[in-house]
Amino acid sequence: MPAVPTPPSDPVLVARFLAGEERAAAELMGRHAPAVARFLYSAGAARDDLDDLVQETFFRAFRRIDSWRQESGFRSWLFTIASNQLKDAVRRRKGMRILPLESWDAAGSEAPDTVLEADETAERLRAGIAALPRLQREVFLRRIQFGEDYSAIAAVLGTTAGAARVHYHHAVKRLKELAR
């Protein structure tokens, strides 16, 4: 039985890109762009803006790829760039986050069993996450959606594991209060 070839790792693809192999960039994008889109969407980006934000994230990433220190995963590093793109986009276009926090508050009138289950409520959750302070939002999403541990999160956000844990708990506390 022939061995299944192992896909090249991210560092290998990055090295190939730096050596001038364009196809490596395409492979990295194919591997990570959907997760970057999900990260942006969960952080409050509108669906219609995802294509542009993902494109800009990767374009910027490839232009400064020599600044990726490999202390963090490539995807985790991309999330940091994506977060900056979202912040800049919100600044340029006030109101880009289409989900005001007030809409989450209305969830309190729903029966507890239905809270956080319907699509409408998922949108409220997205609004709540978008309204969090940036570091709380980033730590919370990285921890819950992508399973990063506090040390990895701390490395990419330039903080300590203890501080990352505090940001996470503040986020949970705030979202929990809104979800009751």
């Binding site: 994008m29 979202l175 979800a179």
Partner: protein
Amino acid sequence: MTEIHCELLQDRIPEVVSGRERWSAEEAAHLSRCADCATVERLLVATSALGRDVEARFDATPAILRVAERLRTEGRREVSPVRRHWIAGLVAAAAVTVAVLSWPGSGAAPDFARQEQSFLTELDSLDTAELAIIADELAPPLSALGASEGAEPLDLDSTQLERVMRSLEG
């Protein structure tokens, strides 16, 4: 019967939600009767599911083509002259701020700290090339202000400077 602490249990929810760990029978029983833990679990389950459809349906092909084209045509970023003037203004503000903050016994008044925060926010939006310009240009105005003792931040490279900005943002 072991007592279940809510804080410890809630710390484990991400591991269970991700499938890396499982609840014990006692923990499951606790979840069924503790409203607070159940709320956190619902919150984290909902968050772990958020955007899965976006990820599953995202077609990266158009972005791949556009990024490839842009990399071919635009290459490495050159900072425009207009942008350089804007950065120069930030450099001046940064120099004054660092000088005042590092002045012996200055006490950094609260109003000043607020002004400092506003331009730090602007700095946070700069990319690496632009931060490098600031790092390069910040030293002369600071030395002119006689703030050598407090000039350690100038020794930071662009990555370190970015991290400082993020940590100040809180």
